[in-house]
Amino acid sequence: MKIALMTATTNPIIHLHPDDNIAVCTRALSLGQSIEVGSTQITLSESVEVGHKIACQSIGPGDRIIKYGAPIGSATMAIAAGDHVHLHNMKSDYIPSHTRQARHGGGGSKT
């Protein structure tokens, strides 16, 4: 696995692999902010924190979410370019994820 890292001084996201349909934020970004992925311009539909993912293309329900060029789960609904991609619109293909407050797709909550 090779990870191509672009420097983030000008662009506040990292698109880790050419096959990825998401990018990772390297700075907190706000609603309406416009960013560049490759030659495409996308506008954020919500505010997103450092380390979180945004869709850099439209993703259909059930489509694989690709990061590092590898699948990291599937979309549970339609996701538009510029949307925050997280527990509310994707899930693991292996095992449910847990948060402090809520159960996501069964199992217990790890505290």
Partner: protein, 399 residues
């Protein structure tokens, strides 16, 4: 580059520290052991122990490996007297390793005060007996380095973890032994990982270990995924896995080991920490420090710990070097960090440059400089009940 120096032990391995361990053999002896350690007022005296009264082959084996670890010079065992831990076997193993060892039984000594007094006396003699050891030249190829991530977030897998991977590639190229671990945190990476195995038979063993981890987590209903991971932007186990996987670098995988197995040669090894048999006794990885203890039991002189959310832990016996992935976390918790890998997303350093910085830190700390967690007095330790079967011959093809 200035060479390393180590303390040569009877089994030929060399230590980069010279710790005196005070070991409680059941929770009932914990407080007495802790008093002995704190009253000794020496950074060289570390507290380790096992809480359970019921005997367990795994805990005896791990404790035997830890008390004969090259970083350990002498040992005081503290028993209540009625617990199931086989203190005679452990004492014999330590003595056979050429280390000074003493055992105190609280019920025979006559209670807390008498055992603490006797314990302090024994620790003073152990410190004296292990003072000013002879240092001999030590090659990079004699160094064993482990890695773990804790408190991961969306930055871990793009900064600190791939930088540790670069450091590992460099160490493996110089014939050091590098160990990455936690098959449960690698779920989703089976195929790309087994493709790096030295032999097809080892690839099969890696795939079996991964299937065991997936099965274990499915039975428990939990992944290795904490609430902070999601708050930091990670959504799924396999996303966290891909990030964790990048700590392994790109070297060939030379073997699959289990806790307490010391790799027979240099190279990159995967440590399987998920118990064998039917899922029992709770989580396979109760916390980061349980995994650090297992890495040390497999001979690690040093641990590279990457964190995004911000962990503060260190460890007994072997120094922990903390590599902070997230520049915002680094700003908040710089006093607890050794390396700022957040520079990578700030755009002021490359993955390779931070990898070299980690490598230099390994050498400096192996030569005796304190890591941040050592300087702050962190000596966390956790050993719990587990069960493992011995590894098969295909797991170590080079032996």
């Amino acid at each position: 580059m200035i060479g390393l120096q180590g303390i040569v032990r009877q089994d030929g391995r060399k230590g980069i520290r010279n710790v005196v361990c005070v070991v409680y053999l059941v929770e009932c002896a914990h407080h007495v052991a802790r008093l002995v350690v704190s009253k000794s007022q020496s950074d060289r005296v570390h507290l380790i122990g096992f809480p359970g009264c019921y005997p367990n082959d795994y805990s005896l084996r791990i404790m035997s490996q830890l008390t004969t670890h090259p970083n350990v010079g002498g040992v005081l065992l503290i028993s209540l007297g009625c617990e199931g831990f086989n203190r005679e076997a452990l004492e014999a193993t330590i003595r056979d390793s050429g280390r000074p060892v003493e055992t105190l039984v609280i019920q025979s000594e006559g209670g807390t005060r008498r055992t603490v007094d006797a314990g302090l006396d024994r620790v003073r003699s152990l410190l004296e007996a292990t003072e000013n050891p002879e240092l001999v030249p030590m090659g990079i190829d004699e160094l064993v380095v482990g890695t773990i991530c804790g408190g991961s977030d969306g930055t871990s897998g793009i900064t600190a973890n791939p930088a540790v991977g670069r450091c590992f590639d460099r160490l493996v190229a110089e014939h050091a032994t590098c160990i990455f671990e936690e098959t449960g945190e690698l779920i989703g990476c089976e195929e790309i990982m087994s493709a790096r195995a030295a032999t097809p038979e080892l690839a099969t063993e890696i795939n079996s270990a991964m299937a065991k981890a997936a099965n274990y987590y499915a039975a428990m209903g939990y992944g290795s995924f904490a609430p902070g991971n999601a708050e930091g932007g990670l959504t799924t186990q396999e996303e966290k896995s891909m990030g964790a996987y990048s700590k392994s670098g790109s070297s060939r995988i030379s073997g699959l080991i289990k806790p307490g197995d010391v790799p027979p040669s240099g190279g990159l090894f995967l440590l399987d920490v998920v118990p064998d048999g039917e899922p029992q006794f709770g989580f396979p990885n109760i916390s980061d420090n349980a995994e650090i203890v297992e890495l040390i039991s497999s001979g690690c002189h040093l641990i590279l710990f990457t964190t995004g959310r911000g962990s503060v832990v260190g460890s007994a016996i072997s120094p922990v070097i903390k590599i902070c992935a997230n520049p915002e976390t680094y700003d908040r918790m710089a006093d607890d960090m050794d390396i700022n890998a957040g520079k990578i997303i700030a755009g002021t350093a490359s993955v390779g440059e931070v990898g070299n910085e980690i490598y230099d830190s390994v050498i400096t700390i192996a030569r005796g400089s304190e890591s941040t967690s050592e300087a702050l007095g962190h000596q966390e330790f956790l050993l719990t009940y587990k069960r493992f079967d011995a590894i098969g011959p295909a797991c170590l093809p080079q032996r």
